[in-house]
C-alpha cells in the first residue's frame, strides 16, 4: 500500500489547509522550498512527520501533506523525541521559531541536540515574536524597540548557532529565506541527509513586526560583501568580485578579512573550510556584519551515533541476552510461596 515514491511531486506535499501567514511573510518561501525538496528524499509521505510548537512558524505542519503535530509552545523537540523513539523509521522534522525554540523551548532543543536524536530541526529566526504581535525574542538585537521594549531591548542577544554548538550539536547550518533558488534547498537537503540531530537556522523576515531585520546583509547592495557561503574544503572567499577572504591571524584564534590581491594575498592564504572542526564552526558563528560577512552554509557536520539507534540497540541487546520479556517469568522471579 505504500506510495509510488518516484511519482511524488511538490504538489503532493501541499495540504488542503489554507496558508494563514501574513502576505509577504518569509515563511512562505521556506514552505515552498521544503515542499520542493521533499519529493527528492524518496520518503513516503506517511513516514514523514512535521512537529512544531507555537508561533507563526509553528503553523508549518498544517501546510505539509504529511503527518503533523502542532504541539505546545517550546515543546516540539520533546514531542519529536518521543515520536522518533517510538518509531525510528519515521522521518521527523521540527519547525520552530526563535521564541519557541530558544526562549521557552531552549532546554528541550539543547537536550535533543546533545542526545543527537535524528531530528531535522528548522529554526525560523525572525528575531521577534510574530504570533503574539511583536515582542522581542532572545535573538532580538540590543536597542530594538518592540511592543514589550518601548525604550529598547537591554537583553544581550544569543546566537542560535553558538547555542547549538555549545549543546554538542553535530550538524549546524544557516541560510536565508530569500535564498529560495539554490542555497535554502541545498541546506534543506543537507539537513535531511545528516543522520542525527540537524540544526538549520533560517533568517526569516517578519514583514509585519520586524521588517528588514536582516537587510544589513540581505539587501542587494550589501549582500555579496556580507554573505560568506561556506563549502567544505573550499577557501572562504566572498565579495561581489570574490576578492575577499577570511584568514586566521597568524598564531592566533582570530579571523580577519583580507583583500585578495592586496599585499600579495592570494586565495592560498585564505582559510579553508572544514565542516568537522568544532572550534572553527564556533568562530564562524561569531562573525557579524559589517566587520565580517555572515557565515552561511554548513558550519559544522560531524556525525555520531544517533540517540534512538543507541536506545533501540540496547533494547535489542537486552532482549537477546535475556530473551523476550515473559510476564510469568518476571512475576515468579525471586521468592514466591504457594498457598492451598
Amino acid at each position: 500500500m505504500s506510495e509510488q515514491l518516484v511519482t511524488l511531486s511538490r504538489k503532493d506535499f501541499v495540504s488542503d489547509q489554507e496558508v494563514r501567514w501574513c502576505p509577504g511573510c518569509g515563511d512562505y518561501a521556506i514552505l515552498a522550498a521544503v515542499q520542493k525538496v521533499m519529493p527528492e528524499f524518496q520518503v513516503p509521505r506517511e513516514k514523514t512527520v512535521f512537529v512544531s510548537g507555537i508561533g507563526c512558524s509553528s503553523r508549518f505542519p498544517y501546510y505539509m501533506n504529511t503527518y503533523g503535530f502542532h504541539t505546545i509552545h517550546g515543546r516540539a523537540p520533546a514531542v519529536a523525541t518521543g515520536i522518533k523513539l517510538a518509531n525510528p523509521e519515521l522521518d521527523v522534522w521540527v519547525a520552530t521559531g526563535d521564541g519557541d525554540g530558544l526562549s521557552i523551548g531552549g532546554n528541550h532543543l539543547m537536550h535533543a541536540l546533545r542526545r543527537n536524536v535524528d531530528l531535522k530541526i528548522l529554526l525560523f529566526n525572525n528575531r521577534i515574536y510574530g504570533l503574539t504581535k511583536g515582542q522581542y525574542s532572545p535573538t532580538s538585537v540590543l536597542g530594538q524597540k518592540t511592543k514589550s521594549t518601548p525604550f529598547g531591548v537591554v537583553d544581550h542577544p544569543m546566537s542560535p548557532v553558538a547555542f547549538a554548538l555549545g549543546a554538542n550539536a553535530r550538524f549546524v547550518a544557516r541560510t536565508i529565506d530569500v535564498l529560495t533558488t539554490k542555497h535554502m534547498p541545498d541546506m534543506l537537503r543537507r539537513t535531511h541527509d545528516h543522520k542525527g540531530a540537524s540544526f538549520l537556522e533560517i533568517f526569516q523576515n517578519c514583514n509585519v513586526f520586524n521588517d528588514g531585520a536582516f537587510d544589513y546583509f540581505v539587501e542587494k547592495d550589501v549582500a555579496a560583501d556580507r554573505q560568506l557561503f561556506l563549502e567544505h574544503g573550499k577557501p572562504m572567499v566572498f565579495g561581489a568580485k570574490r576578492d575577499k577572504g577570511l584568514r586566521l591571524k597568524p598564531g592566533k584564534l582570530e579571523l580577519e578579512v583580507v583583500q585578495l590581491g592586496d599585499n600579495g594575498v592570494t586565495e592560498a592564504d585564505v582559510l579553508v573550510h572544514d565542516e568537522t572542526n568544532l572550534p572553527l564552526a564556533f568562530l564562524l558563528g561569531q562573525l557579524e556584519p559589517p566587520e565580517f560577512p555572515i557565515a552561511l552554509g554548513v558550519l559544522y557536520c560531524n556525525p555520531a551515533p544517533t540517540y534512538e539507534r543507541m536506545v533501540h540497540d540496547q533494547v535489542n541487546a537486552t532482549r537477546e541476552k535475556l530473551g523476550a520479556g515473559d510476564l510469568d517469568k518476571l512475576f515468579r522471579a525471586g521468592n514466591t510461596w504457594k498457598v492451598g
Binding site: 489547509q17 512527520v49 518521543g82 515520536i83 510461596w337
Partner: protein
C-alpha cells in the same frame, strides 16, 4: 553489657512459645544501619511463612544523614498475622532501636509493656548527646515499664564475624543481620530465604556473605540462650488463610511497573516511558529501565515537561506513552496534559503522591493531589482518574489505566502514594494468560477517515499513526472541527467539542464496576468513604467499630473520575458520611459537589498513614454527634 537486662523481674531459661494472632514490629536505626534491608528480609521470610502482612518503610529525606542524628533515623514497620492484614499496625508490639537517636524518635509509639530491644553498644556518650539524651536511658530508669532487652549488638556482631577478616567498618555493617537473626528467632521465622539472598547479593564477595550469615546465625543463636523480660514468650503467628495460589511480596511501585507492562501486552502495543526522577516515583523508572527485554523504551527526560511531551509523541506514534512522577512533577505536566486531552491521545500518568505543598515532605505520604488530578488544569480538561488501594491494587489499576486510555483515547491519571509505593504486601501472582485482553485497533481504512472521527459508543477518536498510508493528518492544541478534525474557531463547534470531551469521560462510568459497600449494611446511619491507600486503615477501623456494635459501613472508591455511576445512590442511603483523607479535604469536596451528599471530612495531614484507632474513635465520635 552483652547480657540481658530487664527492668521488670526476670525469667531464666528457655522461653515458652505462645500463639498469637498478629504482631507489629518496628526496626529503627541510623540510615547507615540497614534497617530497610532488615525490614525487607523480615517481610520476605514472613511471607514465605504464610502470614498475611503489610509494611511501612519510613526513611529520611537525606541520602546519608550524619551518623547518630535524629533526622537520620530510618525505620521499617511490619504487621503480620494469621488474619487478613490491612495496615502495618498502629503501634508496634516490639521496637528495635539500634542507637539512641532511633530510641528518641520512636519510643513514643511503643505502648507501655511493649518489647524494646536496644543495641546498648551504640549508646555511647557521643551518640547520646546527638540524640539529646543527658543520661543514658538504658541506665537511668526511664525505660521502666517497657520489656527491655539491652544487648551490645555491635560487639556481638564483631565477635561473630571475626573469622572472615573484614575491616571493622565492614564487620559492623553486619549488625542488622545479627538483629534480624534475633527477630527471626523471636517470631520463629525461617532464615533460609535471607541466607540465599545474601549468597546471591554478595556472589562476588563471598566473605561478606559469610560474615552476614554468621551474624544472622549468631543473633538467632542468641535467642536460644536469652533471658527475656517476664511475661515474654517466643511468639508463633499461625499462617493466614489465603486464597490458594502462588504468592510473592510486591511493593506499589513494582506492581505499578508490572501492571503497565502487562497492560501494554494486553493492548498489544509497545510502551514508551518518559520520566524524570523524583521521590517517591523514581523506582518505577528504575524497574522499567531494567525490563528492556519487554520492549519497553525508557527515556529519562531533561525534566517532567519533556517527559510527558515525549510520552505524548510516542502515543501519537502508536506506542502507549506513560509518564511517572510525584506532586511537583505533576504540577509541571499540567500544560501538556491539556494537549493530550485536546488531541485525545492515550496516555497514562502515574502520580505517586507525597507531602506538599512545593517540595514539602518528599519522603512522606499524602493524598493531596486528588483535586489537581481531577480538575487542576486550565480550561475544561476532563480526563480519567483512578486511585489504587493497596500495593497489589497498583497492578490491577495500572492495567485498567491502559485499558481506559486506549479504548477511550484519553489520558488517564493513576494515583498512588508514597505509602503504597514503598509498602509491601503479599500478592497472588496471576497467570499472564489470565490477564484481561483488550487489543487496540489502529485505524488503517482510508474511507471516511478523519482524525476526530469517533466511535459512537465510546466517543473515542480514531487512532491512526504515522506510517499508515493514506491517513496523513495533522493534530494539535487548537480547537478542532467536530466533523473534519481541522482547526475551527467556530463558536458552536467549541461548545459541542467541550461537551463531547466531557461526555466521553463521563461515559467511562458505563464501563467500570459499580460502587459496592465493602463492609457492613447497604444503608444505614453512617458510611465511611475512603479512597487510595487509606483503604486498609479505614476498613479495619470500620470492622473494629462494628465489632463493638456500631452501625457503620464502608465504601472504598477506586474510580475518581468518572465516579461509579451508582455512587450517588449509594451515598444517599446513609444518614452520615465520613470521608477520612490524608489531606485537608479533597474527595469530600467532590462528593458534595457531585451529589450534594452531606459528607464530612476527617483529615490527617502529617505525612503518616491513619491509625486504625484514629478511624475507630472518629466513627464513634461522629455517630454520637
Amino acid at each position: 553489657m552483652d547480657h540481658v537486662e530487664s527492668t521488670t523481674s526476670k525469667v531464666t531459661g528457655k522461653l515458652p512459645t505462645e500463639e498469637i494472632d498478629s504482631v507489629v514490629i518496628r526496626f529503627a536505626g541510623d540510615s547507615g544501619d540497614g534497617m530497610q534491608l532488615t525490614g525487607t528480609q523480615f517481610t520476605q521470610a514472613t511471607a514465605l511463612q504464610g502470614n498475611d502482612l503489610a509494611t511501612f518503610p519510613d526513611f529520611p529525606a537525606e541520602i546519608r544523614a550524619p551518623a547518630g542524628t535524629t533526622f537520620g533515623v530510618s525505620a521499617f514497620q511490619i504487621q503480620f498475622a494469621s488474619f487478613d492484614v490491612l495496615t502495618p499496625g498502629d503501634a508496634p508490639d516490639a521496637l528495635v532501636a539500634m542507637n539512641p537517636a532511633a530510641l528518641r524518635v520512636h519510643l513514643k509509639d511503643l505502648p507501655r509493656g511493649g518489647l524494646l530491644i536496644v543495641n546498648s553498644g551504640a549508646f555511647t556518650p557521643g551518640n547520646l548527646k546527638k540524640a539529646g539524651y543527658e543520661t543514658n536511658p538504658i541506665e537511668d530508669g526511664s525505660l521502666d515499664g517497657y520489656r527491655l532487652v539491652s544487648v551490645d549488638i555491635s560487639k556481638a556482631t564483631l565477635a561473630a564475624t571475626q573469622p572472615f577478616g573484614l575491616s571493622q567498618k565492614e564487620a559492623l555493617r553486619c549488625k542488622n543481620m545479627w538483629t534480624l537473626g534475633l527477630a527471626f528467632w523471636l517470631y520463629d521465622r525461617d532464615r533460609q530465604s535471607t541466607i540465599d539472598g545474601l549468597r546471591k547479593q554478595f556472589a562476588k564477595r563471598p566473605e561478606i556473605a559469610d560474615a552476614n550469615i554468621a551474624a544472622l546465625n549468631a543473633g538467632h543463636a542468641y535467642g536460644e540462650t536469652i533471658e527475656l523480660p517476664s511475661g515474654m514468650s517466643r511468639l508463633i503467628v499461625p499462617k493466614a488463610k489465603y486464597e490458594p495460589g502462588l504468592y510473592r511480596n510486591t511493593t506499589g511501585n513494582e506492581a505499578t511497573a508490572w501492571g503497565l507492562i502487562a497492560g501494554c501486552q494486553s493492548a498489544g502495543i509497545p510502551m514508551m516511558l518518559g520520566s524524570y526522577p523524583i521521590t517517591p516515583a523514581s523506582d518505577i523508572l528504575h524497574y522499567l529501565s531494567a525490563l528492556k527485554h519487554f520492549g519497553v523504551v525508557t527515556f529519562q527526560a531533561e525534566d517532567e515537561i519533556a517527559a510527558i511531551c515525549a510520552a505524548i509523541g510516542a502515543s501519537f506514534s502508536g506506542s502507549l506513552g506513560v509518564t511517572t512522577t510525584s506532586g511537583p512533577g505533576m504540577a509541571l505536566k499540567t500544560e501538556a496534559m491539556g494537549l493530550a486531552v485536546v488531541t485525545e491521545l492515550p496516555l497514562v500518568i502515574v502520580d505517586i503522591q507525597r507531602g506538599g505543598p512545593s517540595t514539602g515532605l518528599p519522603t512522606k505520604t499524602e493524598q493531596s493531589d486528588l483535586l489537581q488530578a481531577v480538575v487542576g488544569r486550565n480550561a475544561d480538561t476532563p480526563l480519567a482518574v483512578l486511585a489504587a488501594a493497596t500495593p497489589g491494587d497498583c497492578f490491577t489499576l495500572a492495567i485498567e489505566a491502559v485499558r481506559i486510555a486506549t479504548k477511550y483515547m484519553t489520558p488517564v491519571i493513576l494515583l498512588t502514594d508514597g505509602y503504597l509505593a514503598n509498602g509491601a504486601e503479599p500478592w497472588r501472582i496471576p497467570e499472564a494468560s489470565a490477564l484481561p485482553k483488550f487489543p487496540v485497533h489502529l485505524r488503517t481504512e482510508a474511507a471516511g477517515f478523519h482524525p476526530f472521527l469517533r466511535d459512537p459508543d465510546t466517543l473515542g477518536r480514531a487512532w491512526a499513526v504515522p506510517g499508515t498510508p493514506e491517513l496523513l493528518h495533522r493534530i494539535g492544541g487548537l480547537e478542532k472541527d467536530y466533523d473534519s478534525g481541522n482547526i475551527s474557531y467556530d463558536a458552536a463547534n467549541h461548545h459541542k467539542m467541550t461537551k463531547t470531551r466531557a461526555a466521553k469521560i463521563a461515559g467511562i462510568a458505563r464501563d467500570i464496576p459499580l460502587q459496592t459497600v465493602h463492609e457492613g449494611e447497604d444503608s444505614g446511619d453512617m458510611l465511611v468513604v475512603s479512597w487510595g491507600s487509606t483503604y486498609g486503615a479505614v476498613l479495619q477501623g470500620v470492622r473494629n467499630a462494628r465489632r463493638r456494635g456500631l452501625k457503620v459501613s464502608h465504601a472504598h472508591v477506586r474510580y475518581m473520575s468518572p465516579f461509579p455511576r451508582n455512587l450517588g445512590e449509594v451515598l444517599s442511603r446513609f444518614k452520615k458520611i465520613l470521608v477520612p483523607e490524608m489531606n485537608n479535604g479533597q474527595l469530600v469536596k467532590l462528593l458534595r459537589a457531585e451529589y450534594l451528599a452531606p459528607a464530612e471530612g476527617f483529615n490527617k495531614i502529617s505525612g503518616q498513614p491513619f491509625r486504625v484507632s484514629e478511624i475507630e474513635s472518629k466513627i464513634r465520635e461522629t455517630l454520637e454527634a
